[in-house]
Symmetry: C2
Subunit: 203 residues, 2 copies
DNA sequence: CAAATGTAATGAACAGTGTTCATTAATTGC
DNA sequence: GCAATTAATGAACACTGTTCATTACATTTG
């Protein structure tokens, strides 16, 4: 059965080619501006072919989202290594914000873009869940040691995530222009804000 | 000059008709799903007519954004009336989150949707600026009385706005599904989280 | 009042989108 | 070598925002 094996392999290779090309184009031009036709053109196939491997454009988005969550988790593991729970929490915060600042299109696609939530719910639970779990673990160390003014673990996780996401997403949508700050100062402001926030809820 | 007066009047009436119809449809179906053709059909004019009054679809969005900021400011003025600075701050937080929960499409259009930022910057400064100023004023009362653990006024404003926006927008994008909470419990969770957050940064 | 002017509205046309599906091409199994 | 299966195609469909030559109407002028 060497033939069916090869076919299987070719099929997954093709799927991977489409996935990788789509991801590259999503990150360069954004999800909305990347058309199925342009992806097809990039891999030198006809538009219809993509639909033999992916149900629709959204499914392609879900694939990339999955990869993206994996990337974020890796960043967490790489950047948040301190043995001090509070310092580790600060590292997570910094890592999250830097990730959003350095990968705007990726961040958009993970947390801001509107996409019909079909399979989405499961994909987010499976992939995003790991990232969230990292934060929860980290916070659990802080809360169980009574280092924070927040006592409900999951609520605290939600709050910290919301704050970081709020900072990143308001910036990505240029809503911080109402504060009269120079463009180049913003990354530091966001990081500083997050740190001051964590300091404020630290006992 | 009665004729030119009437023409002027008809022109502004027509513009208002388009603006109002667009807003209604944006709120019902969302910005993306509302087409120029469908707006034109709703007011029984041809698609081209809309372009005699608005440069493009984005300009229509800006108009609605302006109105929306006005609405939010009114909600602030109506809901946040306490003479106690801290209670007033809590009222602002509650009002913001409830606004987002009760007007999801409007909130989307104000803070989440992607739109080319051309005139946008000025519109946001002018309209959104008033809402932000309300929060800043409110926070100024708290900080000047030394009631909060946050000392930098503008940074504190940014933080509180980010937290509230984070809560609302993550919910709007169904990202809170990774926390296993029943749908109907979420509004209370968001409000409670915001309140506990404010409590945590209160001295 | 009739003709000329100005202007508001039209709707076909353009270039693009996601998606489908009958047709074609290639490969495999017998 | 031939039939059957599978993969790829690309035209077609129904949409999108936007433009612009054409038309219809209201107003002003002769």
């Amino acid at each position: 059965m060497g033939v069916t094996d090869r076919k299987e392999r070719e099929k997954t290779e093709m799927k991977e080619l489409i996935r990788a090309t789509a991801m590259k184009m999503f990150l360069e031009d954004g999800y909305a501006k990347t058309s199925i036709r342009s992806i097809a053109e990039a891999i030198e196939y006809s538009p219809g072919t993509i639909y033999l491997y992916f149900k629709d454009k959204d499914e392609l988005l879900y694939e990339v989202q999955g990869k993206a969550y994996g990337q974020l988790l890796e960043v967490f593991k790489r950047e948040a290594t301190s043995t001090d729970p509070l310092e580790k929490l600060r590292q997570v915060g910094r890592a999250y914000i830097n990730f959003g600042l350095q990968n705007p299109e990726l961040y958009d696609l993970m947390f801001i873009i509107r996409a019909p939530m079909n399979v989405d719910e499961e994909i987010h639970k499976a992939n995003g869940g790991n990232c969230f779990a990292f934060l929860v673990d980290c916070l659990n160390d802080c809360i169980s040691r009574n280092l924070l003014r927040l006592t409900d673990l999951h609520q605290a996780s939600l709050l910290i995530w919301s704050t970081a996401h709020g900072l990143v997403s308001l910036n990505l949508r240029c809503r911080l222009k109402i504060m009269d700050q120079p463009e180049e100062a913003i990354p530091e402001i966001l990081i500083k804000s997050m740190e001051d926030y964590l300091a404020a809820v630290t006992i």
